[in-house]
């Protein structure tokens, strides 16, 4: 272009430009093509024959029944199975999101072998033949070298029968190390064990309770069985005027549960035990206790003398001397009148129920706290009554082993050549604590672990000591993962054998935590596998077949279906229970059973199998209240305010006694009491409490877009970790809503978006659990994992790694 264009040049330039645009396809004609292109972008969904089939959700321990709509070979909608006693047709958002697990674009599509190193894995897709060959070879070699016991199976799935199959496999193989990561309700279970001696599931009949005092139990956000809790909640609010159940949520933060409760009592974090004991103080001093129950069924309420004549402090003395109202009000920062009122209401509205401890294992909540809360139930006689605290019976014995979460082994009761790698004898509670694995692996004691098989669990991500777990995995020569996604743990494996997702396999599940009735649901696959995946159960069955000998004899099933059928035969043999039915039929069955009639709709194992396939499962809808020899199995045969198991254990574990700040022999060690509250260290002024939100309950589900979108409705947050902070605190810090902000603890730091929330306690900050994966799906690796910031207890008597109260600083 000349510096001074004249008209001709100008027209030349403009014309040339226009021509250029035209040739690049952007003319009027181009525009109309563009429009056509826009129109052709429309998505057309293929039609096909419609069908409905049943399945079971396994995204949380509850195992709700599903009803899945299929169009041709595609599953297009998940709904609730209206016959399933846990959810009765309702579902939580997690259950609905199962389709996005099934059809997730980032699922592992075939077995993967790590051809790089553990530090820098490189994944190579291999055939199933090759994968099976590798697995079988390793397991066979170990067994031939007499190292079978050094194989560890870590399970995070909640299925019951499938877990039985795994147990059978490892029993036959020769390993005692069939471990389960637990459901998160361990503190409550520990209280049940220590105070009632029961090892079965802790159960609450929420539906029939008149007054629910929840100590930080996120009842509506993933605690126990979310959907059945919601059903109970709905039925409370349906009650006619004056009959409405009062639901009091005691919690430092206004969670969604607290917001939906009839009353929210804000207390200082970690002082649930003190508040429970303060309520006990009022009950005792005002004479509101169930004295008959106390006299007949409890131990350690009054001061007592042991066989040697030594006098011991009872619950009553402890409470009266150390948990007077003004003291408790000072510790908990709950107004005195509130405590008084709660106690009177609790005693005045029976059946009243106190439940305690968040399900999420990381929030401060402890065995003593759970004991204090459970003691309230004993004080008002709410044990073994309708609407009270129950002990769920196990599935009929004879054909069934204990519930997976109840994998207790009586000390010394192992029938294996070698003891379990996590020695239960050493722990207070009769179930192994998976979070102790890193310690065991690194110390190579009692013996080095040669192989670890991880199924449905992601301990590297979900344990407070996950980093340690990852380091410890380096010490294991052969690590196999059955993950469906490349998760944080699978990234440390040598071999990944991707498992089917729920809708692709024979599904089954047992009673959810806190559910009072034995139950077993079973459903066939809904759709054909989307990818080259295999059911882990069938993988083990194949291995057993390949290894032959006693292993093949122990597991003579060629498919998961065959195995499940054999188990159903066992259920039938127990001659009890019914197949799933409508609520009306359920009521009728209960009535007739109370009258002594058991009239099942099936008359043979085959018929039961068919009914289960048709209706989704089998259950025993009648609970026998007041079977004291089943519900109270302590040494005293009573409810123990003073736990004799604790007494016995503390004698042999002086280090625990001293860590708690007690002298050996202190009676308070065996009684519920408030633990000392830690002081914030210099420079870390805020207490960090990780919170569990329903969409990411249990810290899982971050890979599912449906759930990410609804993660934090109270702060309009999604897809990203957020830090909840009280606006007053933020004002003092000079930070604003929506800012990206660093949270730093002595252990590490992470960045999250600040969200001001009036429901957050001043001086306390919250991060949601479930964020901050480092591996896996495109959608999951976002945000901060609060577990990487919290300090974990090196050793926990509760049987789960409990995160310690952690203090952080916050800066922009």
């Amino acid at each position: 272009m000349s510096p001074k264009p004249n008209r001709r040049e100008f027209l030349g330039i403009v014309g040339g430009g226009a021509l250029g645009v035209a040739t690049s396809g952007v003319t009027l004609k181009g525009l109309s093509t563009l429009n056509a292109a826009i129109a052709s972008e429309e998505v057309h969904v293929p039609r096909g024959p419609e069908a409905w089939s049943l399945s079971v959700c396994s995204l949380c321990p509850a195992g709700c029944g599903l009803r899945v709509r299929t169009i041709g070979k595609r599953a297009v909608k998940i709904q609730g199975n209206p016959l399933h006693p846990v959810n009765r047709g309702g579902l939580c958002p997690r259950g609905l999101a199962g389709l996005q697990v099934l059809y997730h674009p980032d699922r592992l599509r075939a077995p993967q072998q790590n051809v790089g190193s553990r530090e820098a894995p490189r994944w190579k897709e291999i055939s199933w033949e090759e994968a099976m060959e590798t697995l079988t070879r390793h397991l066979r070699e170990l067994r031939e070298r007499n190292q079978a016991h050094s194989v560890v199976w870590v399970d995070g799935r909640y299925g019951h029968l499938r877990h039985r199959l795994f147990r059978k496999f490892f029993d036959a193989y020769g390993s005692p190390n069939c471990l389960h990561t637990g459901t998160g309700l361990e503190a409550a279970r520990a209280a049940l064990y220590l105070q009632q001696g029961a090892t079965e599931g802790v159960a609450y009949e929420l539906e029939h309770t008149r007054y629910l005092l929840s100590f930080s139990a996120n009842v509506l956000e993933g605690w126990g069985s979310p959907v059945s809790n919601m059903r109970a909640f709905g039925s409370w609010r349906d009650a006619e005027a004056g009959r409405r159940t009062k639901f009091v949520q005691i919690e430092p933060r206004m969670s969604l549960t607290a917001a939906r409760a009839d009353e929210w009592v804000a207390l200082r974090p970690g002082t649930e035990a003190a508040l429970a004991l303060g309520i006990a103080y009022v009950l005792i001093t005002e004479g509101l206790c169930d004295t008959r129950f106390l006299a007949e069924h409890t131990f350690g309420f009054e001061d007592w003398r042991d066989a040697s004549g030594r006098s011991h402090m009872g619950f009553r003395s402890l409470v009266l001397s150390e948990y007077r109202l003004n003291q408790v009000a000072a510790i908990t920062q709950v107004p005195l009148e509130t405590i008084l009122r709660l106690a009177r209401e609790f005693a005045g509205n029976r059946p009243a129920l106190a439940i305690g401890g968040p399900q999420c294992p990381t929030t401060p909540g402890d065995v003593y706290g759970a004991m204090a809360v459970h003691s309230l139930n004993a004080l008002v006689g709410s044990l073994e009554v309708p609407g009270g605290a129950l002990v769920r019976p196990d599935l009929p014995q004879g054909s069934h082993g204990p519930h997976p979460a109840n994998t207790e082994r009586e000390p010394g009761g192992t029938n294996h050549a070698r003891e379990s790698v996590i020695r239960v004898e050493e722990s207070l509670l009769p179930w192994p604590d998976v979070s102790r694995l890193p310690q065991v692996l690194l110390s190579r004691k009692p013996y080095p672990v040669q192989a670890m098989l991880i199924h449905g669990a992601d301990p590297v991500f979900s344990l407070p000591n996950g980093e340690e777990f990852a380091r410890a995995l380096e010490a294991v020569p052969f690590v196999v993962s059955f993950a469906s996604f490349l998760d944080d743990t699978a990234a440390h494996a040598d071999l990944i054998l991707p498992d089917h997702t729920d809708l692709e396999k024979w599904q089954e599940s047992a009673s959810p935590p806190t559910f009072a009735f034995p139950l077993q649901s079973i459903s066939p696959p809904v759709v054909a596998p989307v990818h080259q995946t295999r059911d882990a159960a069938e993988v083990l069955l194949r291995v057993a077949r390949a290894m032959g000998g006693e292993m093949a004899e122990a597991l003579p099933y060629s498919t998961a279906e065959e195995f499940l059928r054999s188990q159903v035969a066992g259920i039938f043999a127990a001659q009890t229970g019914y197949s799933f039915s409508t609520s009306l039929e359920e009521t009728w069955n209960r009535m007739s059973e109370r009258a002594g009639w058991w009239a099942p709709t099936f008359s043979s194992a085959q018929e039961l199998w068919e009914e289960i396939r048709l209706r989704g499962g089998w259950w025993e809808p009648t609970y026998s209240y007041g079977e004291w020899n089943r519900a109270l199995r302590t040494r005293s045969g009573r409810f123990e305010f003073y736990s004799q198991r604790l007494a016995e254990w503390t004698v042999s574990h002086p280090e625990f006694v001293r860590a708690g700040g007690f002298e050996p022999g202190d009676d308070r060690l065996c009684l519920p009491h408030q633990l000392r509250l830690p002081e914030p260290p210099e420079g870390f002024p805020f207490l960090l409490l990780p919170v569990e939100v329903l969409p990411l309950a249990g810290g899982t589900g971050a890979e599912i877009p449906y759930l990410q979108q609804i993660a934090g409705p109270h702060v309009f947050e999604h897809w990203e970790s957020w830090l909840e902070m009280n606006p007053e605190t933020a004002k003092k810090l000079g930070v604003e809503d929506g800012e990206w902000i660093w949270v730093e603890s002595p252990r590490g730091r992470g960045r999250a978006r600040l969200r001001l929330f009036e429901g957050a306690r001043p001086g306390v900050v919250h991060l949601p659990l479930g964020y901050g994966r480092t591996q896996g799906s495109r959608w999951a690796c976002r945000g901060v994992n609060p577990l990487r910031l919290v300090a974990s207890e090196p050793y926990s008597p509760a049987g789960v790694a409990r995160a310690l109260p952690t203090f952080v600083r916050v800066y922009v």
Binding site: I38, R210, R237, R260, N349, V530
Partner: protein, 236 residues
């Protein structure tokens, strides 16, 4: 002629958002990418909206599932320049995706912010496309979409009762959100039929309509929380 309406009992709602996901799955509503979500482009025909009041520890929070209110006097319909939205004889506020020009006037006129716009072509990544419901059109980019009260279910219900030779009964036609609610907090039915559950609930003293003062006459009716009134306190 039926007049379809919904009752949402806020006393029973647990804010679990199962309805939100059920709606999204039933109606092929795409999940937008995180970056888009951050820019405020989440598509949700039904959202649970929280409102926090007060300051710690005297805080309260209401949570409210908000579908389209299916107003009898809908502000959105009046403003649409091309009649792409209208109200059916049975009271459902419909949207004709194929006619909408995407001017987004209706989205702005709706006082409940319950109309969504397709900022992009809907994206169902990889196999996620397999989960699409064939009964519901996937909306193209550039048009407004909204809750239809699962209109396709009404069509199916009508078809099946016609085959059975009987009139539509209560429960034959239920939208996905109502069907899934675990706490049973949502009810659906014919407001004209005095015997229907919804018609009975609407007469409750707890019944109110959201932003009633705007005169939009919603057919989604809420029942207020209510209070714990019962229980005696043990005398001293």
């Amino acid at each position: 002629m039926a007049r379809w309406g919904m009752v949402i009992d806020l006393a029973k709602c647990t804010a679990c958002q199962a309805c939100v996901v059920a709606c999204q799955a039933e109606n092929n509503v795409p999940c937008v990418e995180p970056e888009e979500a951050e820019r405020g482009r989440i598509l949700s025909w039904l959202a649970v909206v929280a409102e926090v009041q007060g300051s710690y520890p005297r805080v309260s929070m209401t949570t409210r599932p908000l579908p389209c209110m299916h107003c009898d006097s809908p502000p959105c319909i009046r403003v649409c320049p091309v009649q792409a939205t209208g109200i059916t004889p049975e009271g459902i506020v419909r949207q004709t995706f194929a006619r909408c020009i995407g001017c987004r006037y209706c989205t702005n006129a709706c006082p409940y912010t319950r109309r969504m716009f397709n900022w992009y072509r809907p994206e169902f990544r990889g196999e996620l496309q397999l989960a699409l419901n064939p009964d519901v059109t996937v909306r193209p980019k550039g048009v407004v979409e909204k809750c239809t009260l699962c209109h396709h279910r009404l069509m199916q219900a009508k078809e099946s009762v016609r085959a059975e030779g009987r009139p539509l009964a209560e429960g034959d036609y239920v939208p996905a959100c109502v069907e899934i609610c675990p706490a049973g907090a949502m009810y659906f039915g014919d407001l004209e039929d005095p015997e229907s559950r919804v018609a009975q609930l609407v007469r409750s003293p707890r019944a109110f309509r959201y932003l009633e003062e705007l005169g939009t006459e919603p057919k989604v009716i809420f029942l207020s929380q209510g209070e714990w009134a019962g229980g005696k306190q043990e005398p001293r």
